[in-house]
Symmetry: C2
Subunit: 197 residues, 2 copies
Amino acid sequence: MKHMARTQGSHSDITGPRVRAAALKLFARGGYAAVSMRAIAAEVGVQAGALYNYTPDKQSLLFDLMSAHMTELLDQTPDGSDADPRAQLHSFVDFHIRFHADRPDEVFIAYMELRNLTEENFARIEALRRQYEDHLEDILRSGVSSGVFNVRDTKIVTLAIIAMLTGVNTWFRAGGRLSLDEVVTQYWDMVRKAVGA
Amino acid sequence: MKHMARTQGSHSDITGPRVRAAALKLFARGGYAAVSMRAIAAEVGVQAGALYNYTPDKQSLLFDLMSAHMTELLDQTPDGSDADPRAQLHSFVDFHIRFHADRPDEVFIAYMELRNLTEENFARIEALRRQYEDHLEDILRSGVSSGVFNVRDTKIVTLAIIAMLTGVNTWFRAGGRLSLDEVVTQYWDMVRKAVGA
DNA sequence: GTCTATATAGTGATAGAC
DNA sequence: GTCTATCACTATATAGAC
């Protein structure tokens, strides 16, 4: 026996995660400003007022999603500080493409909804993004130092590589013409050539 | 003598362009869904009702901005079908970076507000964007045919180059560390290497 | 913890005066 | 061509019943 019929909606103890999942899906599909708390509540299967047991307000819902995404990105970024720069860069390209391909909604929100954060929340997310960029730039700089990369301006190349790799999410679909392995191979080929490795 | 004082707002005959300019600025800053017709009217210096002399609705305002931008992009894309592929690609990179750097608000809207278009309007804008991508892919294919480019999959490289170049807009500011000439030089260097030219 | 009901404010769009 | 006034609706967030 599982549960008796209930007269007043769900009393599941995992409503919190379901609220975040619903917000993630709807924000990615329609945009933060265009998605109402009522729409999120309907997706979860509760009334709008019930959401406020899980988030103080709509802004916190957005910030929590973006913050969790960026933190996970940084936590899972391969370290490999003992490998040579070329292997580190290959590892970074591989990781970036796969991590982002696995989380299209999170990535979309992280790039599109920055302007809907409050000033303070925006600064926190930007600091995390900056950390990620700095990690790639460190790899490039060490490769330039040891002479295996031929790069004029590591900052520009950092931003160019990240923009190129993140662009995969605008067109890649699992089950499409190309497998993720093939995508990684071809982007690594371009990155490798671009840095002169 | 210019004008007598007026008791009821502006009667300028260029209100139409000013409405589009205000919408462009505010959509780029706050996002289509978050910007009200009243806010646009305030930016222009009229009351909300007056806007409807210049646009049938808010959606048309967004579509017109995006459509005009994409049409101008296609109109100004260098032809150069008589030049060799390497020169054509260089010309494309130079054009793309400068055209987009000149129009940060238009570019931002064209990428961020696609999901706020109606289905029909979205299809029209996508067709224009596709035309632009096809132009670059044609250059890459002709270079592969004549053996001056070493590219495995022209479609992927097309999308990677456009993502990389458009990414310039997220950080470039006139008067910053780098001039636009230097940016063009460095991105052309990366593109050139990536296609093996 | 979820419900219903509500406070307060804002939305896109239209009508009719001038 | 712009104004004022308004319609019908939706928004976020809160209060109190259960």
